[in-house]
């Protein structure tokens, strides 16, 4: 029998779980990861990574179709959906193997099966209904993640009505598609299918798409998507989905008026719920609030020795949040000095639609709600030489400063490659720079990053190129 006694047993091998395991091992702890399906979790296998692969295919295809604009001629451009999907799956597979290698290198035990709490300091692992291992851990960390939220009456069937999972491996290209929900997941799929030629309709219950973003960014995104031919209904709900033989008729209600549309496929992306079931929480002091485990700033649950991180513990549902929570948690357990709890305001969020969206910190409305007096800077892509040269003149970089202290309260960007740029502002927030340091920073020319400088200058009435 393999080793069953550990310093820490981590239930769930997603980005939160496996990164935590590696950090725990670095700190000299004997660590185990229990994973029921894929190392790397949803993120790596059915989320972040494979969707980026799909979106890249869509982007390249879009660029080929626009080759003329760059002085290139391409004729007969087309795509093979099966190969696009196969590329995405291959990339997920490759990285999944990579995680396995990393865990082995760090001497983390990998236990294949479904883990659940089974008494103080115990985790039972089951596979195909049979107990395969009983583990003991001085500390147990739950990182079981989350799954798509389902609304009554709008149940996915995996054929005509999809969740993210089926949407990632289409067998045929739907001619028309309804996306329910306009958060990051919904909008990325809407953008992908739109680029590959589907007629896409998005329905959002809130008054604007990408509702967690700054209002100006939401409005900019909506305008851009509509210009591309997307149909967007905000402040609207899908009342019912009626399945035909190879299509679905959806009843959409807006302002009390119902309209029916018929589409080939539907994608449901109306939020996610924590995987709190069947992990042995019953009879423990772990508290669950609306499908999420309640934790304190060090990821402790109500049950001594049991911790929880990542999607399981609530928003923002982001891989990088899970990783940081996990690292902080084990560092605290190991007694590392100078551990700081996670500042949620410094977690950037990225959406990889076309144009991309990225943000960190407060929106303008949130800053004002807090009673802060703000200085707002804006810089449009059209004022940036590199953006023009790339053929990407549409976008905006918005920065929000505390007028009194010069603190960078938030940054919001939409346009090409902004997901790669946002960390500049994230670093600024983490280091607590003021506008002065940002203004003194030399940004290389010609780059898109110059817009980040200009936006700050604009907030202080010093913008140069606009």
């Amino acid at each position: 029998m393999a080793e069953t006694s550990f310093d820490i047993v981590i239930v769930g091998g997603g980005p939160g779980g496996y990164v935590t395991a590696i950090r725990a091992a670095q700190l000299g702890m004997k660590a185990a990861v229990v994973e029921r399906e894929h190392l790397g979790g949803i993120c790596l296998n059915w989320g972040c990574i494979p969707t980026k692969a799909l979106l890249r295919s869509a982007e390249v295809y879009h660029n080929i179709q626009n080759a003329e604009a760059y002085g290139l001629s391409v004729t007969g451009a087309s795509f093979d959906l099966a190969k696009v999907v196969a590329r995405s799956r291959a990339i997920a597979k490759q990285l999944n193997q990579g995680v396995r290698g990393l865990l082995r290198k760090n001497k983390v035990a990998i236990i294949d099966g479904h883990g659940k709490l089974a008494g103080k300091g115990k985790v039972r692992v089951e596979k195909d209904g049979k107990v395969v291992a009983d583990l003991t851990g001085k500390h147990i960390l739950l990182a079981t993640g989350a799954r798509a939220r389902l609304l009554p009456g709008l149940e996915p069937d995996g054929k005509l009505i999809w969740t993210y999972r089926e949407a990632m491996v289409p067998e045929t290209m739907p001619k028309s598609l309804l996306v329910v929900g306009s958060g990051a997941i919904g909008i990325e799929f809407a953008s992908f299918y739109q680029d590959l030629g589907a007629e896409v309709t998005v329905v959002e219950v809130l008054p604007r798409i990408l509702p967690v973003e700054d209002e100006e960014i939401s409005a900019f995104a909506e305008k851009t998507f509509k210009k591309r031919g997307m149909t967007i209904h905000t402040g609207a709900t899908v009342k019912s989905l009626k399945k035909g033989s190879n299509n679905v008729t959806a009843t959409i209600e807006k302002n009390g008026k119902a309209t029916d549309i018929t589409v080939d496929r539907v994608i449901l992306a109306v939020g996610i719920v924590g995987n709190v079931e069947n992990i042995g929480l019953e009879g423990t002091r772990v508290k669950v609030d609306r499908t999420h485990v309640v934790i304190d700033e060090w990821s402790r649950t109500g049950e001594p020795g049991v911790y929880a991180i990542g999607d399981l513990t609530g928003p923002p549902w982001l891989a990088h949040k899970a990783e940081h929570e996990g690292v902080i948690c084990v560092e605290k357990i190991a007694g590392v000095k100078d551990v700081h709890s996670l500042n949620v305001g410094n977690i950037p969020g990225c959406t990889y639609c076309r144009p991309q969206v990225a943000s960190v910190g407060l929106t303008e409305a949130e800053a004002k709600e807090q009673g802060l007096t703000v200085k707002v800077g804006r810089f449009p892509f059209v004022g940036n030489g590199k953006a023009i040269a790339l053929g990407e003149p549409e976008g905006l970089v918005k920065t929000i400063f505390d007028a009194k202290t010069g603190e960078l309260l938030g940054a919001h960007m939409i346009g090409a490659e902004v997901t790669e740029l946002i960390q500049g502002y994230t670093l600024a927030r983490t280091l607590e720079t003021t506008e002065a340091e940002l203004i003194h920073t030399v940004f290389p020319h010609p780059t898109l990053s110059e817009m980040m400088h200009e936006s700050v200058l604009d907030a202080y009435g010093r913008v140069i190129h606009f």
């Binding site: 002091r285 508290k287 309640v294 304190d296 700033e297 109500g302 001594p304 100078d338 700081h340 009673g371 009194k404 202290t405 010069g406 603190e407 280091l431 607590e432 720079t433 003021t434 002065a436 340091e437």
Partner: protein, 425 residues
């Protein structure tokens, strides 16, 4: 042409200040980095460092001048090779520019501010202090000497949070270093004629208590609400709970004060509008329910915090409180463990105090003063009976919390204490 030395802005909002004292005389040689003068605002005293070298040719604004506008020329510096004859024209032009000063102030704000940043980053003893740019600026704006603050950031770096805590809620953790001139002395009392005494120098903690509670009592319009809570049910439950404590690991011994902490926290859930801070522009309503508990230490009073106390059970509160109190007495609390909090509990019951009124612990709006639990005659169903009664007095900041709100809070608190089983809900 002599160089004009301008009145610096100590903060972006400063428009004028007092030139407290010149450190150099006319004719003195000045090297870059020398302290030229001290400037005072209502918030702070700062030293002006020389940026250029030369000879101090003419002081235009003498010691003790009040209301000196930012960017007004305050002195003229003769450059190498210049003699005093060069001063005459310069004085004329300096005085001429005086009228322009207010207009110029806005435009050149950042330039004169900067030398001040460097003086703010060294502690009183001249050693380097690590602080984030935002923390440095906030410290200048608040008139806080960074040397008096211990940083909670990576490697002890002073970050925004530390300044906020120092401004609104903190006792400086390092008693050795007092804020240089953060606040002018408020009261100076001469000892009585001929009385013999010995001096016990004020520790930083003592000074902080004096200043913060002095400010609180002077500035906060306190009002006081008292209720009597019958405690017999709670004492019974406590006895029962403690009897069920396991031996060894996980053992607990819940005190009456632990119940008070939990009841105070749960009552905030029901009446969240007492968990607030008054500021001139807005009332800040806290998301978390953090309860400060006054602990007497040899150095003075400190208020460690049970964070999110409403989410914590009695055993957790009890063990956290024991840990915090013992480390408080050893002076080993980290700043984040006592800075912040939304409501303070001060319990003097163990000394037999029947009831008292506490001074609000700013920036909080309420403090609960808990007296002794003692058998008292009470009237029950028209007949005299004996009950264990504990009097609790809530001191309330009337700027942020009105009487009815305070009373409502206290009523919920009393009900929780008197029906302790409802604390399980």
């Amino acid at each position: 042409m002599p160089i004009q030395i301008l009145m610096p802005a100590l903060s972006p909002t400063m428009t004028e200040g007092t030139l407290a004292k010149w450190h150099k005389k006319e004719g003195d040689t000045v090297e870059s980095g020398d302290i030229l003068a001290e400037i005072e605002t209502d918030k702070a005293t700062m030293e002006v460092e020389a940026v250029e070298e030369g000879i101090l040719g003419k002081i235009l604004v003498p010691d003790g001048s009040e209301g000196v506008a930012v960017n007004e020329p305050i002195a003229l510096l003769l450059e190498d090779g210049e003699d005093s004859s060069a001063l005459d024209d310069a004085i004329v032009s300096a005085l001429a520019s005086k009228t322009l000063a207010p207009a110029k102030a806005e435009a050149t704000l950042s330039a004169p501010t900067e030398p001040q940043f460097s003086s703010a980053v060294s502690a009183g003893d001249g050693s380097r202090v690590f602080a984030s740019p935002l923390a440095k600026r906030m410290a200048i704006q608040a008139g806080i000497d960074l040397g008096s603050i211990r940083g909670s950031g990576p490697g002890g770096r002073i970050v925004k949070h530390d300044i906020e805590s120092a401004v609104i809620g903190g006792v400086p953790p390092e008693p050795a270093i007092a804020p240089q001139a953060a606040a002018a002395p408020i009261l100076v009392l001469e000892p009585a004629q001929g009385a013999a005494y010995r001096e016990q120098p004020n520790s930083g903690m003592r000074k902080a208590i004096a200043q913060r509670l002095g400010d609180a009592k002077r500035n906060i319009p306190h009002f006081y609400l008292t209720v009597d809570c019958e405690l017999d049910g709670l004492l019974e439950l406590r006895k029962d709970l403690n009897a069920r404590s396991p031996e060894g690991e996980g053992a607990y011994r819940v005190s009456v004060n632990d119940f008070v902490i939990r009841a105070a926290a749960l009552a905030i859930r029901r009446v969240p509008n007492v968990n607030v801070s008054w500021t001139d522009s807005a009332i800040l309503l806290y998301n978390d329910i953090d309860i400060s508990v006054a602990v007497a230490t040899p150095g003075g009073l400190i208020t460690p915090i049970i964070r999110k106390a409403d989410n914590k059970g009695l055993a957790v509160i009890s063990s956290e409180m024991k840990d915090l109190a013992s480390r408080a007495r050893d002076g080993k609390l980290a700043p984040e463990e006592y800075q912040g909090g939304g409501l303070t509990i001060s319990n003097l019951g163990m000394f037999g105090v029947k009831e008292f009124s506490a001074i609000i612990n700013p920036p909080q709006s309420v403090i609960l003063a808990v007296g002794a639990a003692e058998p008292r005659p009470v009237v029950k169903d028209g007949a005299l009976a004996i009950a264990t009664v504990m009097s609790c007095t809530l001191s309330v900041d009337h700027r942020s919390v009105d009487g009815a709100m305070g009373a409502q809070y206290l009523a919920v608190f009393k009900k929780l204490i008197e029906e302790p089983l409802t604390m399980l809900l």
